[in-house]
């Protein structure tokens, strides 16, 4: 009961407050931007043609009605919460009449697939390679992996991505230039194969950088663990090295990495803007960029809402699980 009252409930309240504040700020900030969605839409819709002045005025009024931007800020804010609670995020202004839910629905699975997989692969690779390199610091392969990853780590992501793009689409043109798959979606091997084929290069670019980061972190932690008494006793007891590394050293380095994994997975909902732009890959990042440029309030709020809820929930889960994972931080 004490656990519920003094640990779980306050964190749940904190979670709700974070989401409320985050969503309210997301509602307000785009409206403080000098960019107006009606003007942007007018610009797009009339970019190629000349309208009569009367038609221009009619179009403007029509957009105000369709976008639901009539009324003062408070009215819009109350309407907004009403819609959020009903699960209706409204139409996208930049892709009208498509709804925000449809737009997010078409982008999110690509993002989850690409970022989810690459995050898990990079996390696992970084953890294992870092653990091995930390425990076997003098082996040739350990030094080779460390030198390679430490050299890659400082290179800005977009440069890595661009190099991969040029290497494997131009000089050695084996990967596609644009898109997420071939043909229309189906449960056939050819379609699934195309998903892997189209996603490989963007995923590789993400894995390279993220692995290097986690490798450095994991190696530092493993080096500390290596000099711990329990490792020394295990070695004296002649336990197999493999068992010492995987059962004890890496396991003990995982704790901060689990937090990092949870938050990284939650951040998936923000999308991978640079990856999507460089590789022409579908997903939420590109949607968000377009939404910001077009002042597409509804789309900005939809994606940010997802991100705020995702990260706040991941933090909450990590908080709640910590006492279970680590006996040292178990609550009283």
């Amino acid at each position: 009961m004490t656990l519920l009252k003094e640990y779980i409930v306050p964190r749940l309240i904190q979670w709700a407050i974070v989401i409320f504040i985050g969503v309210s700020l997301t509602f307000l900030i785009p409206r403080m931007s000098p960019i107006n969605p009606i003007d942007q839409a007018m610009g797009r819709l009339t970019a190629f043609q000349t309208l009569s002045p009367e038609a221009t005025l009619a179009l403007r009024q029509s957009l105000m009605d369709l976008y639901g931007l009539e009324g003062n800020l408070l009215t819009q804010y109350l309407n907004f919460w009403g819609r959020v609670l009903r699960g209706d995020l409204g139409p996208s202004f930049s892709a009208f009449p498509t709804t925000v839910a449809d737009m997010i629905g078409s982008g999110i699975w690509w993002t989850i697939g690409l970022l989810g997989l690459s995050t898990i692969i990079a996390w696992t690779l970084g953890l294992v390679l870092g653990g091995l390199a930390g425990y076997f610091p003098d082996r040739w392969w350990s030094k080779a992996v460390e030198n390679t990853l430490v050299s890659i780590y400082p290179i800005p992501y977009y440069i890595v991505a661009f190099i991969l793009l040029m290497l494997f689409t131009y000089y050695l043109p084996i990967f596609p230039l644009v898109g997420g798959s071939r043909g229309t979606a189906s449960f056939s091997w050819s379609y699934i194969g195309s998903l892997v084929y189209y996603g490989f290069l963007p995923a590789l670019s993400l894995v390279i950088g993220a692995t290097a980061f986690r490798f450095i972190m994991s190696k530092a932690l493993a080096s500390t663990e290596r000099s711990s008494d329990y490792v020394r006793f295990a070695e004296i007891a002649a336990l197999p090295k493999r068992r010492i590394v995987f059962r004890y050293v890496i396991r003990n380095t995982m704790l901060p990495q689990v937090t990092d994994l949870a938050l990284s997975l939650a951040a998936i909902f923000e999308g991978a803007l640079i990856t999507e732009v460089v590789f022409g890959y579908p997903g939420l990042g590109y949607l968000l960029l377009n939404a910001i440029n077009a002042s597409d309030y509804n789309m900005i709020m939809g994606i940010t809402l997802l991100s705020i809820v995702g990260i706040a929930t991941a933090s909450l889960l990590v908080d709640l699980c910590y006492p279970l994972i680590d006996p040292r931080v178990r609550y009283r």
Partner: protein, 633 residues
Amino acid sequence: MFSRLVLAGLLTAAIGLPVGGAMAQPSGLPVDVPREQLFVSDQILRYNVVGNYNFWVLGPQNPTRHAMFLETLWIRDQETGALVNDAASAPPQYNDDYTQMSVELRDNIFWSDGVQFTADDLVYTIETLKSTPELGANGWHAQLNQFVESVEKTGDHSVTFTLTEPNARFHSLFEARWNGIYMMPKHVFEEVEDLATFTNNPPVVLGTYIPVQADPNGFWELYERREDWERSPAGVETNNPGPENILSIFYGDSTRKAIAMSRGELDVYFDADFEAFQETLDTTPTARSWYQEFPWAYPNEVSSRQFVFNQENDPVFANKDVRWALALALDIVELQTEYIGGVVKVTPIPVPPTGELVSLYHEPLEEWLIDLEIDLGNGEMYKPYDPTVPDRIAEWAEGQGYDVPGTPREVFGSGWWKFDPEAAEALLVKNGFSRDGSGQWLKPDGEPWVLSLQSPPDENDAFRMANAASDMWTDFGIQVDLQGPERSVWDQNHIEGQFQVSTPWYSFALASGDAWPEIRGWHPDFYVPVGEDYRSLGGNNFQRINDPRVGELIDAMAAVEPGSEENHELVTDFLKHWTEEMYFITTISFKKFVTWDERYWTGFPTAENPERMPLYWFQGGKYTFQSLRPVAE
């Protein structure tokens, strides 16, 4: 040993997956259509409304799509200036007082489901657009209600419009430069309960191609040719089947388009920056643009680029002498060659020197331009026009080792203003400007002159033009603050007048030579002062020009027939007035590196075969697609 196994396994997984995938799918194209049956065109933007082919509501984007399957009554070709019949079979006919317009329709075209196109479709289209406010695309609902009293079928393939007031330009709603009112299939649409939410998917079309597959993320769309292609307007007009399939695909930036073409995965791109175009020529020997050699690019899209001034942000720009001084401080030859690469035409008036427009406006105005004088002060009159500009650009081109494919005027446009900093200085001194000890200009109030110039970097030529002006005006002694805001910010800065000098694009004449539809937004009736949205009365005058003479000329044009000699004289007078006032410093016309690869397909229009415009993403692009032939033939 174990660690080696782990590493080997990871490497195998990393390398094996894509190679396996690549072997299964050797092509980077997203569709399974034999390459020899597929024409691949550059999609100028990523469609963000997918699977919705209701182009009468606000939202679905029309570039390329309207060339594939949407029809209007007439197309105005920008290369030839000709009026091409689309769903109509003859030009519009007006009665004597322009209160009625009659249209004859083709009797040999059919919808893709086999139903014949008739006058009923046109009447239904007009009445439905008029009565349905939700069909708000392109302002057609509002304009038809404004202009059309009634529409009546006078035969199976003839229709008469009765107008609310005399209007000699009513047909322009159905005459596509970019697009014109799209015909609706009455037999399909009349069955629909709510046209506002109808997605029209799969569509019944009057054009040659039907969309059959689309990427849900908007990167590409695949079209299939109708079996009865010869019963579509473009089929009738060209009598050529065209490709069996067309894939429009969005690759993004210029670099990726150049790579795609080198891989044989793109047959035409609509434009690229100069460097990417040169890369295409190097990597794709079968690629070319309008000209086979220098200056390569297509020069005849009817638009021009200019520096424009906010007349109310800083009072100095309301003074025409200041605007003239800024023009004379620009070296157009250096701008056109060193900054743009010599690949565009020059023009001093806001009408590009293309096809018919040269003979309509540029040649007749030449003598007037040569004789034009401006007052430098102290009674000294000065002739600012330099007719030798195209010759000097041609000299530069020959110096670079290029052959000029025609006369300098054909290739590089008309003359321009002299580069004469001394005359520019005289104009400024006349108006109370002075220089400080370091040679920098001070405004009449003694404050340093800091000129703010805004140009969005995503528009390559405009931004390069702005850089040229920034350098030249800086050399002249003006402190230039060149800003390159995002397009959305740039757009927004114009709304309430938060700019001094900017780089938009305009053409004050259509390919037909008429100007009124393009300039009526500058009528003083629509003038709105700085601080308020310039469009709040419906005009498009973000420069805040408030000139009664402009209003008089626009009113006079409205009252005459667009093709009449009287209208031509009024447009000419308007251009003279605009030039004397130097409201815009117009510099160059549009150019596009519309580039196609002749590896698989041939038949695109070229400088040697200029029978139509190559602007395939316009509604009139349908004839370009339809004219293609496989190289294997």
